[in-house]
Symmetry: C2
Subunit: 394 residues, 2 copies
C-alpha cells in the first residue's frame, strides 16, 4: 500500500493488516507442504489448515468447522453454491428465485444456468434496495430448488431480511443461499440464527488476502462440486488447497472476531461525518441505500450532472481512491442494474460514487475527500451539458 494514497475503496482493495501479513509470511517460511499428503510433510499443513477452518467457523458461528468449504474467493463460493445446488437438485426442479440487485457472480451464474434450461424469477426491491420476503414467497413454485438473495449489496450497502426469507424457504422446502461476501467480517453474520443453507464469503472483505474465500454449507445439504477431482474439502471442492491464502484468511478471521465492534464504531463515525458534512461541499445528490439496514462502512452517492467514472479518475490524480461500483464490473460499461432497480435514472446511476471505509481511514481522510470532491464536481459540472441545460431551465 503506497502510504500517500487515501484509500476510500476498501471493498475492492482492503489492505493486508500486519497480523495477516505475518501469518502468511510465517506459513511461507515454514513451508508446510500439502495438507493431503500421506506422510509427516503434510501434517503441519493439515494442522495449519484446520486451525484456519476453526477460526473461520467461529467468525460465522458455524456449528462445526467441517461445514466450511474453502474456495478461491467469493466468486467461486457463489458459483459453487448457485450451480452446485441447481445441478444437484436438477431432478427435483429447475426453477430458481433471486433478486434484481445481485452481484454479477450470482447474475451470471444464473444466466449460465438459463443456458442449461433452468428458469429464473427475479424479485424487485424497494427504493432502499430491500427485498420484500412476501415477494420471495410469491415467486417460489413447485419446481423451485433454490432461492439466492444477497446478504448485503456491494453498491448501496443495503442489508436484506435474510432471516425472514429463511423462514419462508425452510417452510417451503427450498434451499436458501445468501451471498454474504460484503457482510462476513464487517457485520455479525451468524449462520445459525440467519437460517440460510449456504453462505458465501471472501477473505479480502475482512483484511485477508484475495484469492481465498469460503462457503458455509449446512450439514446434509446435497451439492455438486464445481471442481471435481480429489477428495479435498469433504468431497465438495477438489484441488490442493491454497494453504498460504487460507492461513491468511484464518488469521484475518480471528482478528475480525476480536475487532469487529471497534471497527464498526470507527467506520460508522466516519460515515456519519461524511454524510453530515457532504451538503456543505456539494449539492444535488442522492444518498443510496437503506438509512439503517446497511453496511456500516459503505456510502453510495449519486451526484447529479456528472459522470462517476470521471470523478474516480480525477480523484485518483489527487491520490484518493474511490469507486463507481465493484471493481469486478469495472471493465463493463452499462449502467448499474442495482441503481436502476432502486429507481435511479440512467444519468444519476452513471454519476454514482461508492466510498467504502476501513479501519485505516481517519477523519482527515474524509475531509480531504470532501474538499477534493467539491472541486471535482465543480469542474465537471462546468463542462457538463446536462448541468448547463438545467441552469438554463432555472
Amino acid at each position: 500500500m503506497t502510504e500517500k494514497i487515501t484509500n476510500l475503496d476498501h471493498m475492492s482493495a482492503n489492505p493486508l493488516i500486519p497480523e495477516v501479513q505475518e501469518a502468511m509470511i510465517s506459513a511461507i517460511r515454514n513451508d508446510y507442504g500439502n495438507p493431503s499428503s500421506q506422510h509427516k510433510l503434510g501434517d503441519k499443513a493439515a494442522e495449519a489448515m484446520e486451525k484456519a477452518r476453526e477460526s473461520v467457523a467461529r467468525l460465522i458461528n458455524a456449528p462445526s468447522a467441517k461445514d466450511v468449504v474453502f474456495t478461491s474467493g467469493g466468486t467461486e463460493s457463489i458459483n459453487l453454491a448457485v450451480k452446485g445446488i441447481a445441478w444437484a437438485k436438477q431432478d427435483k426442479g429447475r426453477h430458481i428465485v433471486t433478486s434484481n440487485i445481485e452481484h454479477n457472480a450470482v447474475l451470471r451464474s444464473l444466466r449460465r444456468l438459463k443456458m442449461m434450461d433452468y428458469k429464473v424469477s427475479s424479485v424487485p426491491v424497494d427504493g432502499y434496495g430491500r427485498v420484500d420476503p412476501v415477494d420471495v414467497a410469491g415467486a417460489i413454485k413447485d419446481d423451485t430448488v433454490l432461492v439466492t438473495i444477497m446478504h448485503s449489496n456491494n453498491e448501496i450497502g443495503t442489508i436484506q431480511p435474510i432471516q425472514e426469507i429463511a423462514r419462508i424457504t425452510r417452510e417451503r422446502g427450498v434451499i436458501l443461499h445468501t451471498d454474504a461476501v460484503d457482510s462476513v467480517g464487517v457485520v455479525p453474520v451468524d449462520v445459525q440464527t440467519l437460517g440460510a443453507d449456504l453462505v458465501s464469503f471472501a477473505s479480502n472483505t475482512f483484511y485477508g488476502p484475495t484469492g481465498s474465500g469460503g462457503l458455509y454449507v449446512r450439514r446434509g445439504t446435497k451439492i455438486w462440486p464445481l471442481l471435481d477431482g480429489g477428495v479435498q474439502e469433504h468431497n465438495k471442492r477438489a484441488g490442493t488447497e491454497n494453504l498460504i491464502g487460507i492461513v491468511g484468511m484464518g488469521a484475518a478471521a480471528e482478528i475480525a472476531v476480536r475487532d469487529m465492534s471497534a471497527r464498526t464504531a470507527h467506520v460508522v463515525k466516519l460515515k456519519n461525518k461524511l454524510l453530515k458534512e457532504l451538503p456543505h461541499y456539494i449539492d444535488e445528490y442522492i444518498v443510496n441505500g437503506h438509512p439503517e439496514k446497511s453496511l456500516p462502512n459503505l456510502v453510495s452517492v449519486s451526484v447529479k450532472y456528472i459522470e462517476g467514472e470521471s470523478v474516480v479518475l480525477m480523484l485518483d490524480d489527487e491520490n484518493i481512491a474511490v469507486s463507481t461500483r465493484s471493481a469486478c464490473a469495472a471493465g463493463a460499461l452499462q449502467a448499474s442494474h442495482v441503481l436502476l432497480s432502486i429507481g435511479r435514472d440512467f444519468a444519476d446511476a452513471q454519476g454514482t460514487l461508492v466510498i467504502t471505509l476501513g479501519e485505516d481511514n481517519t477523519e482527515q481522510d474524509v475531509t480531504r475527500f470532501l474538499a477534493a470532491l467539491k472541486e471535482t464536481v465543480k469542474t465537471l459540472r462546468e463542462i457538463s451539458p446536462l448541468y448547463e441545460k438545467k441552469a438554463a431551465q432555472a
Copy 2:
C-alpha cells in the same frame, strides 16, 4: 520444510524455493491491492500480475501472455478445460474421448458430464501406459467435441504422444486438451509445437505455491467459464485473482525456465542410481512406466507381497516421505486405475510406491531410502500371507 525429513514425494509437496518465498513475501509486504481496481491502488497489482503472466507464458512458449488464464490450481484448470469446452460445444455434440489412465480431476469431471448427458469413450494404454494415437483417431465420432489426454501420468510418469494426437484432432476439427500438470516446469512443454488447444498446469509442480495454476487456451477457442461473475482473465475466469500466489507462480516459472536442464540432469542422475541399485536391496518388483518417454523425476515400483500404504507409514516413521500415489487420491481406497490399466494385478497395484525426486535431493537420500526400503519390505513380507503362500509353493 522440516530439515530432517527426506522428501521423496515432491509431486505432492514440492518445497517453496527461496526465490519464490522472497517474491511472495515482497508481494505481501508491498500489498499491491486488487488488479481490477479503477485507481492507482490497483495499478501495481495489475503490473505484478501481468509480469507473472509473461513469465508463465514464456515457460510454455505461449504465443501471447493473453493466452494464459490464471486459476486456483491444476484441478481448476482441468475442470475449466474439460467442462468449459463440453458446455461451449454442446450444440455441436456431446461426445468426449479420453484415456484409461487420466487423473481424477479429468475422470471425475467426465463422470460429472455423463450425469449431464454427455458420452465418453476411453482409449486403452499399453503395458508402459502409452496411448496409441490410432486408437484416439478410431474413437473420434461425428459428435466428438473434445479429446482430453494427459501429457504425463502422475503415477507412472509415462509421457503421451500429444503431438501425434494433436495432428489427428486438428484434422478432425476436434478440440484437444492435455493435462500437463505434472509436466509443465519439469520437462519442456511448448504449447506451439505440442499443438494442443488447451494445456493445464499447476504452480506447485515447479516449486511455486499450491493454489495457483493456469490454463493455456489457444486464441479463438470458445470456452465457457467455470466461474461466472466479473470480467477478469479475459472473461474466462471470474473472481479477484490470488495475487500473492500468482506472483509466486511467476517467480517459480522464471526460475524453471532458467534451471530446467540442470534440474533434469540432477534428478535423472538420482533416478538412474535408484533404479540401478534397487536390485541390490529388494527382489521381486516391477518398475512401472515407459523406460524413456517418462518424467525424469518419477520412479514407480510395484513391490510384490506387500502393501504400499504400509511402506509409506513405516518410512514416515524413519522420516522418509514417499507416496503410494497422488496425494489427491490418498483418501480413496480402491486400487489405482492407472496400474490396473497397464496390467498390474490388484495385489501388485496395492504394493506400489511412487518416488518423486526434486532438486533438493542428494545421492545420500537415495541410499538412505533404499536401505530403509530393504528393511521395511523384509519386515512386511515376514508378516505377509501372500509371501508365505508363495514361499510354500516354491
